[in-house]
């Protein structure tokens, strides 16, 4: 486990109402109210923040340097210490956590946004693949997840009924909007995955405030302390990987201390039902663990913010006393190629 020299906590979390489309809002118009919301929870403004870090993707937006205009929503004046990751905002949170550990910052604002509806996300994500051997075939994320699901079924790890149960539970838990209610099985999108096994396509934004030690205690009665956080990547070649397992998740969880004591809650970034099966196994989550009380990525999936939302949702549960020790997971790349695990705790009451 990483021996952090400082204690860092998530003290605030906010997210937009997730929609199929953002109703003609620009990215900054989607993002700005979420930033105000998160900062407002702890009575701060952007000027009180020592470090700002965001996650987003030019490819989702269809424009180069798309993140530069989103910065308008922060109000970066006087100039701020700021960075950006071209991936899910969970990794922006990781960068901010490191920054606080160095002692150069006591507080950090982390945000992420994704307008998956701008392009056809199934086409867009094919551009993530090996540009010589895979991208020219345009295999979309549903196809790749379906290959993984078939491997799981062949290995006896799951079946379509079990996948249906995962879908139903996540969608029932989803908090808002019509897209989140349980829906009928639907046709196969790419068999063995049906519509219910796939994430909704939607737009949204999320923001988190981090703080160190006493600052965190001052800002929140019950900070969600980051006891450990780690991320690992595995080979890009699908034909080299065992798609039924996620060794990178397991290693990240080990390094984050997830197996040192039981967790009561897990927020998993599993855009496809079958991927929840893989993650549960890798993380050794038993029946006693509440998995995705938020509904997870199957209830709302603003790509590039979905992972950060898992960290935020887990923290929010600790904030309101519904959890004492929660695991949050984020993923990036095809078929769970890269995984981040954080362990959050509330102080003993």
């Amino acid at each position: 486990m990483t021996h952090a020299a400082r204690n860092v906590a998530i003290v605030a979390f906010a997210q937009s109402a997730h929609r199929r489309r953002t109703d003609g809002l620009s990215e900054v118009e989607t993002l700005m109210p979420v930033l105000h919301d998160a900062l407002g929870h702890v009575g701060l403004t952007a000027r009180d923040i020592d470090f700002t870090c965001s996650g987003s993707s030019d490819y989702l937006a269809g424009r180069a340097f798309s993140f530069t205009m989103a910065l308008d929503g922060v109000g970066a004046w006087p100039p701020i210490t700021e960075s950006h990751v071209e991936t899910d905002g969970a990794w922006a949170l990781y960068e901010a956590w490191v920054k606080i550990l160095t002692g150069a910052a006591d507080t950090a604002l982390v945000y992420a946004y994704g307008t998956s509806s701008a392009g056809d996300v199934r086409d867009v994500l094919t551009r993530q693949l090996d540009p010589y051997y895979l991208a020219p075939l345009w295999p979309d994320p549903v196809a790749l997840a379906a290959l993984q699901a078939r491997a799981l079924i062949d290995a006896g790890e799951t079946d379509e009924q079990a996948l249906a149960a995962v879908a139903a539970r996540n969608r029932a838990a989803g908090p808002q909007g019509a897209a989140h209610r349980p829906r009928a099985a639907g046709d196969y999108v790419v068999a063995p995955l049906r519509a219910r096994d796939c994430p909704p396509i939607g737009d949204g934004a999320a923001a988190v405030v981090l703080a160190a030690g006493d600052t965190a205690r001052r800002l929140h009665d019950r900070p969600a302390w980051i006891r450990g956080i780690d991320h690992r990547v595995e080979t890009h070649a699908l034909g080299v990987r065992d798609l039924t397992d996620s060794p990178s998740t397991r290693l990240a969880a080990t390094r984050a201390g997830a197996f040192d004591a039981p967790v009561d809650t897990a927020e998993l970034h599993a855009p496809f039902t079958s991927q929840e099966i893989v993650l549960r196994k890798a993380l050794r989550l038993g029946d006693g663990v509440t998995v995705n009380p938020s509904g997870g990525a199957l209830a709302a999936n603003p790509v590039m913010a979905t992972g950060l939302i898992r960290l935020g949702e887990a923290a929010a549960r600790i904030h309101r006393g519904a959890s004492d020790r929660a695991l949050a997971h984020a993923t990036a790349g095809p078929c769970l190629q890269q995984n981040l695990v954080a362990v959050l705790e509330g102080e003993t009451r």
Binding site: T22, D23, G24, L25, S26, E27, V28, E29, M32, L35, A46, Y59, G62, R63, M69, D72, G73, G75, A76, W77, T115, S117, A118, G119, D120, R122, D123, V124, R127, P131, Y132, Y133, L134, A135, P136, L137, W138, P139, D140, A143, L144, A146, L147, Q148, A149, R150, A151, D154, Y188, V190, A191, P192, L193, T235, H236, A237, L238, G239, V240, L243
Partner: protein, 321 residues
């Protein structure tokens, strides 16, 4: 409030990809109906081959030929093929471990229906009729009724024929990619563009710092709050700075030389940009007062021309530079 604007946005480019040694050999091999793998230091054969061991990152160059037949390790039925995918009729995506390889290759498998596909089934490469040295030289896989060739035997025969050496090797591929988006400029820009259609330039004032933004972008970038109070600015303005363009920009049909300028419209707190005409290019200067010239049907002024008034004093616009 006007209906939010949207417009199609196409991002398209024919990317040229140089291949490096291993990928060059593999793709040239496909052109010649030969499948190559690469042997790692611990003896595994990777297909498709890469320049580095995925586990250790060590450089690997030991190419070996493998069979064009193999076994499906996992698959997925694609009932609705999408643009760019290998087949137009429903097909299976499959990971196929070719005989002689230790890893699997992703491609399409042509089969009559999902019932005709299973993990462990035998398949063979269906070669494209026209091959150029690309992954699509494999048109797809197709079912193949045989027994697996012994891997060791295949690898041994492959070694005999100096694999990877071809006349006229492929060193680069062109991979066109097109993505279609719907672009939403947002509510603030919609208000601005709607006014512009009536040849009015409407900025928005920040409620906190009172600065007027043209065009408005939804947020005051220094205060991080929404701008909301509409303020009509211009039509006249001042050239704050400029350059003389002597080189034709791609896709712009403007005779050079011409002047590209930053123009602070009266009442705006920052400059926008435009072309200056109606005056010899070498007489344009900082402080020149200008007014817009519109052409029928254009969204923006075609250019700005000198307004009949004295130049602005430097001190009046130096903060807008």
């Amino acid at each position: 409030m006007p209906e939010p604007l949207t417009a199609p946005l196409v991002v398209e480019f024919p990317f040229t990809r140089s291949l490096g040694p291993v990928q060059s050999a593999f793709l040239t091999g496909l052109r010649e109906r030969t499948v190559l793998g690469v042997r790692t230091t611990d003896g595994q054969v990777l297909v498709p081959p890469v320049e580095y061991d995925p586990r250790t990152a060590e450089e690997i160059r030991d190419l070996v030929e493998v069979a064009a037949t193999g076994t499906v390790t996992t698959w997925a039925w694609n009932p609705a093929p999408r643009r760019g995918q290998p087949l137009r009729t429903p097909f299976a995506w499959a990971l196929v471990r070719l005989d002689g390889a230790d890893t699997a290759l992703l491609h399409a498998l042509d089969a009559p229906g999902p019932d005709a596909v299973r993990t462990g089934m035998r398949v063979r490469v269906r070669w494209a009729l026209e091959r150029t040295g690309a992954i699509t030289d494999i048109a797809c896989f197709e079912p193949h009724d045989d027994e697996a060739t012994e891997p060791t035997e295949r690898a041994a025969t492959a070694h005999a024929s100096s694999p990877g050496v071809f006349a006229d090797p492929v060193t680069a591929v062109t991979t066109p990619a097109r993505l279609d988006y719907t672009y939403s400029p947002g509510r603030a820009q919609t208000r601005y563009l709607t006014a512009l259609a009536g040849r009015r330039t409407v900025g928005e004032r920040c409620p906190a710092c009172r600065k007027v933004y043209v065009p408005p972008r939804g947020a005051c970038p220094t205060c991080g709050v929404a701008t909301d109070e509409e303020v009509e600015v211009g039509p006249r303005g001042t050239v704050t700075t400029y350059c003389v363009v002597n080189i034709k920009a791609k896709g712009l049909d403007i005779e050079v030389p011409y002047v590209y300028a930053h123009i602070a419209l009266d009442g705006a707190d920052l400059a926008l940009h435009g072309r200056i005409a109606g005056i010899p290019y070498d007489r344009v200067r900082m402080g020149l007062r200008v007014e817009p010239v519109w052409t029928e049907g254009a969204r923006y002024p075609d250019h700005y021309r000198p307004a009949d008034e004295p130049d602005a004093d430097y001190d009046t616009y130096k903060e807008l530079l």
